[in-house]
């Protein structure tokens, strides 16, 4: 059922050796490939076939759901709208991701719109990896949108990673935080060649006591370009922080625009941003430990994107 390319893509985007345990939904070339549900996690297809609704019962703890998408059909642009309804006081991990194998000249792409409704005091860890490979020269595009609505006391930790091979990426992350909720987003993107990636983030701190921390790490190699926009919009007493760092190598270009909007006098918003080449003191330190220049560069990038 899973061929060698499928297995490689699943390993790259979801760390899977084969079919996962627990609930899962694997989508291949716009079609459902395989699905499993559990007593606490239900998955249903939308009537139009373009997406799923994952419903997690209140109080579900220590369970996970995998929802990887794999594409290997030339000329296909797959669009899905997935809903996640996370019951109150649950604690779950969701592993998503899209892997593209491009074998020809025709472009391939995927747009996944993921909407999370996270119930009171529920905790979600969401891990999403994007990866493309293959000998074909067709453009590979991935345009994910993530919308998160956090109820009172809910927590979401989101790790969003684009690990290489994607020619065009246009990512949008939106979040609305209820009272005492917590959102942690870590985005890591590596581009090379003539690739382009844009990340637009709008986080609204609506509830009193809400907290958001957005971390972005970008590595821009070759002639590639990455742009990062992040806005924290505070409507209540809250805390928000944006940390965005970009390492430019070769002729890479970057635009980073953090934006803070305090519309409540007790909002505390901060940001730190940096763009630059690898610091020479870091390179010298690792070379003084016996690493070559190239080994030192790789080790620093590896750590930066870890």
């Amino acid at each position: 059922m899973l061929d060698a390319i499928d297995k490689e893509l699943l390993a790259a985007v979801a760390d899977l050796e084969g079919l996962p345990k627990g609930a899962f939904n694997i989508r291949k070339n716009g079609q459902l490939l395989k699905r499993e549900v559990t007593a606490n996690i239900d998955i249903e297809s939308h009537a139009d076939g373009q997406g799923i609704t994952v419903t997690i019962k209140p109080g579900t703890v220590n369970e996970s759901v995998h929802i990887p998408v794999i594409l290997s059909q030339a000329g296909l642009y797959d669009v899905v709208y997935n809903n996640f309804i996370i019951g109150a006081a649950s604690d779950v991990t969701i592993i998503a991701g899209c892997g593209i194998h491009c074998g020809g000249l025709a472009p391939e792409g995927h747009a996944g719109i993921h909407e999370f409704r996270i119930g009171p005091k529920a905790k979600v860890k969401y891990v999403e990896k994007h990866y493309a490979r293959g000998p074909g020269r067709g453009r590979r595009s991935l345009n994910p949108t993530t919308k998160v609505f956090l109820d009172a006391g809910a927590e979401a930790e989101m790790e969003l990673t684009q690990i290489g091979g994607v020619d065009e990426a246009n990512r949008v992350n939106e979040a609305v935080l209820g009272p005492d909720s917590l959102l942690l987003i870590t985005e890591r993107v590596l581009t090379e060649g003539s690739q382009k990636a844009v990340s637009t983030n709008n986080i609204t701190l609506e509830g009193a006591g809400s907290r958001a921390n957005m971390i972005s790490r970008s590595v821009i190699k070759g002639d590639s370009q990455q742009d990062f926009y992040a806005t924290l919009d505070a409507l209540a007493p809250c805390f928000g922080h944006i940390e965005c760092d970009a390492i430019i190598m070769d002729s890479g270009r970057n635009e980073t625009v953090p934006s803070l909007k305090a519309r409540h006098p007790d909002a505390a918003l901060t940001h730190e941003a940096s763009i630059g080449k690898i610091a020479s003191d870091q390179l010298m330190k690792l070379m003084s430990l016996g690493l070559t220049y190239d080994e030192a560069v790789n080790r620093i990038i590896q750590g930066f994107l870890k």
Binding site: D245, Q282, K285, S288, G290, Q302, G303
Partner: protein, 243 residues
């Protein structure tokens, strides 16, 4: 074991290192001192290959290493402890120590921690980032230098950011490393504790080797106003020196 022959380093028309000749003997402890801006750190960086000399020769173990890279000098047995250690994102003390020691074996890393006097195991997984205190980053710097098992260890101002109570244990650690591993040790410092521990004190002034010998012999020069570069006004017409 380390020979500097007619060594020059200049920036523009200014000689930062101005014709230094000196031979460091195996297993000895050297303290390099001198006023701010005299060329101490530059000399240490020339030995490590961080800066390249404009003239002269650096010989290590009989080989001319003047044009060698930092990496090649490190692999030949020279280790360097930076005055302002680098901070990283996503790299832990464990990562650095493993790179320095050439192994990630837990038992060997723990043995290294004991060797440098770090008792807290949780310290191993601390990120080497901007959140570390000055004292913590210096401990890490020292540990990664010692973990190289170097033939020549260079410490540039190891007491920067270290509290007064930690300096003597640090001196004892470097002396123990010198004694137990026959490590040729060079410490660049203004601190008397390191200079007292040294077998030989070298004083650099305006890029030249102004003195070599024991600390007692260096004291008159250290107190000499001619090498004071932090002066104060005395009356309307004279200058003194802050001491």
């Amino acid at each position: 074991m380390l020979e500097l022959r007619d060594l020059y380093f200049s920036v523009g028309d200014r000689n930062i290192i101005d014709g230094i000749n000196f031979t460091f003997e195996k297993g000895k402890f050297y303290g390099i001192t001198g006023p701010n801006g005299s060329g101490k750190t530059t000399l240490a960086k020339l030995i490590m290959g961080i800066n390249s000399p404009n003239g002269g020769e650096i010989r290590f173990g009989g080989k001319d290493i003047s044009q060698w890279s930092i990496t090649d000098r490190a692999r030949e047995g020279i280790a360097y402890s930076f005055q302002q250690p680098a901070r990283f994102k996503g790299i832990t003390f464990r990562d650095l120590l493993a790179m320095a020691a050439g192994t990630d074996d837990q038992e060997m890393l723990l043995a290294l921690l004991r060797r440098v006097g770090i008792c807290s195991l949780s310290f191993l997984d601390k990120p080497v980032d901007a959140k570390l205190s000055g004292g913590e980053i210096k401990k890490i710097e020292l540990a990664t230098t010692i973990a190289r098992n170097p033939r020549l260890a260079i410490y540039d101002e190891p007491d920067t950011g270290i509290d007064l109570w930690t300096i003597q244990p640090m001196v004892r650690l470097l002396k123990r490393e010198q004694r137990d591993h026959d490590t040729t040790t060079i410490v660049v410092s203004h601190n008397r504790a390191f200079l007292e521990a040294a077998d030989i004190v070298l004083m650099i002034n305006e890029g030249k080797l102004a003195y070599r010998g024991d600390l007692q012999g260096a004291l008159p020069m250290l107190n000499d106003l001619s090498i004071c570069n932090y002066r104060k006004c005395v009356g309307d017409r004279d200058v003194g020196c802050y001491r």
